[in-house]
């Protein structure tokens, strides 16, 4: 695989990561909305499982193209508002980090495309 295609591949992965993080954002929103709901069980995104499935050789081509399926796990606890706010800020920082990475990948691809001009 040449460098150009590899860069595109990285860009794809950052895209999937962004989808995953924004899905995690909805999960956190849901937890916060339900912070006072009796009987509600806190949900979490299972990052290990998703990130593992992105590169796994046993995944089918279709599953790879569809991207990571954000698995939710109910972790049996009650919603702690402070914890959720911390998670929300962490998720926001990660999202910023990944968008910056995606931006620099786009810049790389642009400058590659201009080689020799």
């Amino acid at each position: 695989m040449n460098v150009f295609l590899k860069t595109f591949d990285s860009l794809n992965i950052t895209g999937k990561m962004l989808t995953l993080l924004s899905n995690n954002n909805s999960v956190i929103t849901n937890n916060i909305s339900n912070s006072d709901t009796p009987g509600y069980v806190k949900q979490n995104t299972n990052f290990e499982q998703v990130m593992g499935s992105i590169r796994s050789p046993i995944e089918t081509p279709l599953a790879k193209r569809m991207g990571p399926n954000p698995m939710l796990v109910e972790d049996g606890g009650k919603v702690v508002l402070e914890e959720e706010i911390t998670n929300m800020q962490r998720n926001f920082l990660l999202y910023n980090l990944v968008t910056r990475r995606a931006g620099s990948l786009v810049t790389t691809i642009k400058s590659m495309a201009q080689v020799g001009r």
Binding site: S22, S26, E74, Y95
Partner: protein
Amino acid sequence: MTLLNSFHIGLRGLLAQSKRLEVYTKNIANADTPNYKRQIPILTPAEDISFKALLARAKENVFSSGIKSSVPGAVDMPGVILDPTPGEKVYMPGHPDADENGYVTMSNVTILNEMADATMTTKAYEAILSIMSLTKQMGQKATEIGRG
């Protein structure tokens, strides 16, 4: 786009919490009304019933166990229940609401409880607002990818 989904969930959360605050306000306003029964708002987690969510859930039932849903729902406030606690009886023979023995049943609202619940609701509302504003910033970051 999953970020818009966050906004949708947040909006439903805001609506439910403000409806809840309305109930507490009504209780406080009626704290001195004879025969008034305190209303308790019910909150339930709402399931997402879009086609995508149902399909994801059906797939999970086949392929994996222990995972409930891959699409988060929201929160709903379907209604209120009446607090069955009997209100305090006060002896006021001339009162139009008095029974044959001259006792008036007052409301069973404790203002302190209602104030505490209302404060909790306000905090939850603020938390939802703050995550919605962060979501907005995330969206702005996403539109800036590849610029400049």
